[in-house]
Symmetry: D2
Subunit: 269 residues, 4 copies
C-alpha cells in the first residue's frame, strides 16, 4: 500500500502537493520595523491568562513589514518565484512565561497560502492581507538609497480596508533593528474540537527561533504610523500608538528548523 507524503495537507503518494514541505525553510529578505509604545494594559489584554507582561517596557510594540523570498531544501521554489516570494506585516509584543522574556506575534497578515500554513504550524495567527513596502534599488531615481533622509513607505490592507500606512525616514546606521522582536517567540497552537462546544483538540504553548541568522547593516530613523480597524480586523483599537520609538530597515536571512513544545493541554475531543 502506498504511503502518503507531505508536511501539511494535502498528502499524496508523491508528496509534492503539500501546502508546506518539510523544514528547513530558508528566508532572504528585508525588514522594515516601527517600534512604538502603547498602554501596557493593551498588551496585557491580548495575552492569555498564564502569560505575563514583560518586566521591561511592557507596552512596547513592533510593527514589521517583511519582504521575503523563501524556499525549502533544494530551492525549487526559487525557479518559479511566484511560489517563493511573499510579504508579511505583523505586530509583535514581548511577554514573560515562567520568568523568561519572549517575543510574541499577536497579529499577522501574509500574501501567500504556504505562509498561512507555516503560520498555523508555528502558532502565528495568520490571515491574508495585501502588503507593500518600498524597495531599495541601486540605479535610477525611483528609489531611496541606504542613507540619511531615505524614505520608505509601507501599507497593509485586508478585505479592502487599509489597516496600516507608514513612512520611515532613515537617519543613521544602527547596531540593531529594534528590541521587541529580538527574543524567542512564544506562541499558542490550538484547534477547536470538530464537535461544537467540545473544547480544544489541540492546545499547546510552543517556542521557536531562527538559526543561521545572516544580518545586513541596520539603519534607524523616524517613523510615521497610522493604524485603523475594520469590521474584520482590529489593529488601531487593539494596539494604539502612544509614542513612536523609531523606524528601522535591515536585510536579513534566516532558517527555520523547528521549535520546542512548552506545555500541552490538548484533549481527545
Amino acid at each position: 500500500m502506498t504511503a502518503l507524503h507531505g508536511f501539511l495537507p494535502p498528502l499524496t503518494p508523491k508528496g509534492s502537493s503539500a501546502l508546506v514541505p518539510n523544514p528547513p525553510w530558508y528566508y532572504s529578505g528585508t525588514l522594515l520595523t516601527i517600534e512604538y509604545l502603547t498602554d501596557p494594559a493593551n498588551v496585557r489584554a491580548i495575552l492569555p491568562d498564564d502569560i505575563d507582561l514583560a518586566p521591561d517596557r511592557p507596552g512596547a510594540v513592533a510593527l514589521i513589514w517583511a519582504d521575503w523570498q523563501s524556499c525549502s531544501e533544494g530551492g525549487l521554489e526559487l525557479l518559479d518565484p511566484i511560489r517563493s516570494q511573499y510579504l508579511e506585516a505583523f505586530a509583535v509584543v514581548r511577554c514573560a512565561y515562567q520568568g523568561v522574556t519572549y517575543s510574541r506575534c499577536v497579529a499577522i497578515w501574509v500574501t501567500k497560502d504556504f505562509a498561512i500554513g507555516r503560520g498555523w504550524f508555528q502558532g502565528y495567527p495568520k490571515k491574508f492581507g495585501s502588503i507593500h513596502v518600498t524597495r531599495l534599488f541601486n540605479r535610477g531615481k525611483a528609489t531611496p538609497r541606504l542613507e540619511n533622509g531615505a524614505q520608505l513607505g509601507a501599507s497593509l490592507s485586508a478585505y479592502d480596508h487599509r489597516l496600516a500606512s507608514a513612512v520611515v525616514t532613515l537617519r543613521e546606521p544602527s547596531e540593531d533593528n529594534g528590541f521587541v522582536n529580538g527574543h524567542k517567540m512564544l506562541h499558542n497552537r490550538f484547534m477547536p474540537s470538530i464537535a461544537t462546544g467540545g473544547g480544544m483538540s489541540l492546545d499547546q504553548l510552543v517556542s521557536m527561533g531562527g538559526i543561521d541568522v545572516d544580518l545586513g547593516p541596520a539603519w534607524r530613523g523616524d517613523a510615521e504610523l497610522s493604524l485603523a480597524d475594520s469590521q474584520w480586523d482590529e489593529l488601531g483599537s487593539l494596539l494604539p500608538v502612544d509614542e513612536v520609538l523609531g523606524g528601522y530597515y535591515r536585510e536579513v536571512g534566516t532558517t527555520f528548523v523547528g521549535g520546542e513544545l512548552v506545555t500541552d493541554r490538548s484533549r481527545p475531543v
Copy 2:
C-alpha cells in the same frame, strides 16, 4: 483579566479579529459538478491505510466548482460582500470506514483566507486558487439559461498554473447532482509536532455534513474536462480521467454546525 475571544486565531478581547467566527456557518450558492471514473488504484493510493475503497464504483470522482456567498449568525458578512463571497474547486472521492461509506475531499482550492481556516478546522486540505465558473443570469445575451444546450465553463489555477478547465453542456432536469459527494464527509485533521520529526500533535479522523439543505432544481448533461499538474499541485496525475460520467448544475443552500470525532491518535508532542 480580560478573556480572549474568537473561534480561530487571532483571539482578542472583543473577538472580531478571528479568522473564522463561531458556527453556525450559512452557505448560499451554486455547484457545478463533473463526475468521472478513474482507475480505483488512483483512489486507493490517496486514502490513508486504515480507510477502504467504497464497495460500489470505487473509482468514481467528483470535481466540483462551488460559487458561494456565506455568513455567520447575524449576517454581517453579507453587508461587506468581499468578506462573504468566495469560490471553491474540489475533488471528492468515496471511501469506507468500519463498513460505512463516506465522501472524502482529497484536494481543494479556495479564494479566501476564512475559507482556508474553515477547511483547516474541518479537515479539508485547502489551498489558495484562482477559480471561475460561468453564472446564470436572467437577462441579456451574455449568459446561458437553465435549458437544454446551456454551456457553463469553469477553471482552476494555482500559482499561475492552470490545473483544470471544464465545459458542461446541460441537457435535461435531473433528480440529483451526482452521487459521489452525497455522503457524510470523512476527513483527517492533523498538525505535526513543532519539534521536527516529533510525530503528530493532532491526529484525528472526523466526520461531518450539512444541515437545513435547501436544493434548487438540478440539471445534468455532458462535460469536457482537462486536468493538469504543476510543480506545486497534483491533479491530472493524481486522478486522471478514464471516462466522464456527466456534468451537473444546481443551486444549493446549507448550514454547518459541527461534526463528530471518529478516532483520535493525537500525542502530546
Copy 3:
C-alpha cells in the same frame, strides 16, 4: 504580406490577442444604484467648459455597482469565465450639450483589463479597482431575496484604499432604477501628443447608448453611502453626498454596437 487583425492592440495576423475584440459586446448582469444630491457646483467643476449642467436637478449623482458577465459574438468568453466576468463601480452625472441632456460617467473603476480597454474606446475614464456587491441567490440563508427588507452591500477600493462602502435596503418594486444614468452618454476621448506639451493628438466628444436593453424587475429602497478619497483617487471630495435619494437593484442585459462622433478637435501632433 499578412495583415494585422484585432480591434484594440495588440494586433496579430490571427487577431486573437486583441485586448478587446470587435463589437458587438453583450452584457448580462445586475446593477445596484444609489442616487444622491451633491451641490451642483461640484458637478459643474468636473464638466469641461463647453458642457453645461443639466437643467433639472443638476446636482444629482448616481453611484452604480455593476456585476457583469460579458462576451463578444460567438460567446467564447463565456466558456472561460475569467475572461467574461467583471465588476464596475462608477459615478454618473447628467449634463447638457447643445440643448440635449446626456448622462456622463465622471469616475469609474473596473476589475479586468478588457474592460479598461473598452472604456478607453468609449471615453469612460476607467481605472482598476477591487469591487464587490452582494448577490441574490434563491437557496439557503446566506443571501437576501428580492423582497422588502432585503439588504445588499457594496464596496469599492483602489490601491488598497477603501473609496466607497454602501448598504441598500430594498423596500418595494419600482418602475425604474433611477433617472441619472438614463440618457445617452456624452464622453470625451483624448490622447496627449507623444511630444511633451504638444497638445492633443486625439480630442473628441462622442455619444453612445446600449441597444436590445432587456430589463428585469426593479426594486427601490433606502441607502447608506460612505465615500472617501485617497492620494490617487478623488471621490468623497469630488462628489460629496448632501442627500441620499434612494437605492435600486435590477437585473439588466444590454448590447453595445458603437456610438456617434459629436465633435472632433484632434490635431496631428
Copy 4:
C-alpha cells in the same frame, strides 16, 4: 470656471485622480532578458506593412521581465509603494523604417493600471498579466547572488493561463544585456472611430527612448524558455523559439520625458 487637470483621464479640478500624471516618469528596477532566434517570417508577420525587417539578424527576439519601482516628479508614489511597484513581461523585436533600425514591443503584460495607461500613450500594446521574477538579496540562503551558477526564474500568466516560464543561469559579467532592446522604440498609437467600421480616429507612428539611463553591472548566461498560447493571448505560436541566444540580468534606472511623432494618418471619424 474651474479647469480640469491630469495627464490621462479621469480629469478633475485638482488633477490627482489622473490614471497617469505628467511626465517625467522615473524608473528603478531590474531586467531579466532572454534573447532568441525565431524564423524572420514570424517577425515579418507581426509588423505593419510599412515597417521593414531589421537588416541584421531579423529573427532576433528579446523576452524581458522588468521588476520596476516607478514614480513621477516629487516621488509621492514611493511613499505608498502599491502605487509605485509593478512588473512587466514583454516581447521586443527589431525593425527598420526609412532606413533606421528601431526596437519594437509587439506584446506586453503589466501588473498595474497606471502602467497600462502609460502603455496606451507610448504605443506599447499593454494587457494585464501576473508576472514574477526571482530577486537577488544579499543575505540568507533563499536567493541567488550575482555570480557564476546563479539561477533566476521568471513566469508570465494572463487570465490564469501560463504563457511563459523561464530559468536563466548566469555565467559571467557582460558588457551589455542584449542587443534587441537597444534602439529607440518605434510604436503605433491608434484608436478606432467610436462609429463601428468608421476607420481610425487616431493612427500615428511614434518613436521614443529613455534618458538619464543608469546601468548596473550586466551578467550573461544560459536560458531555458517555455512559451505557450491561450485563447486570449498568442505568444508561443507567434514568436516560437528556434534557438536561445542567451540570458541576461541587469539593474537599470531610466527616465521618460516624451517622444517624437513620426507619421500621422489620423482622421476626424
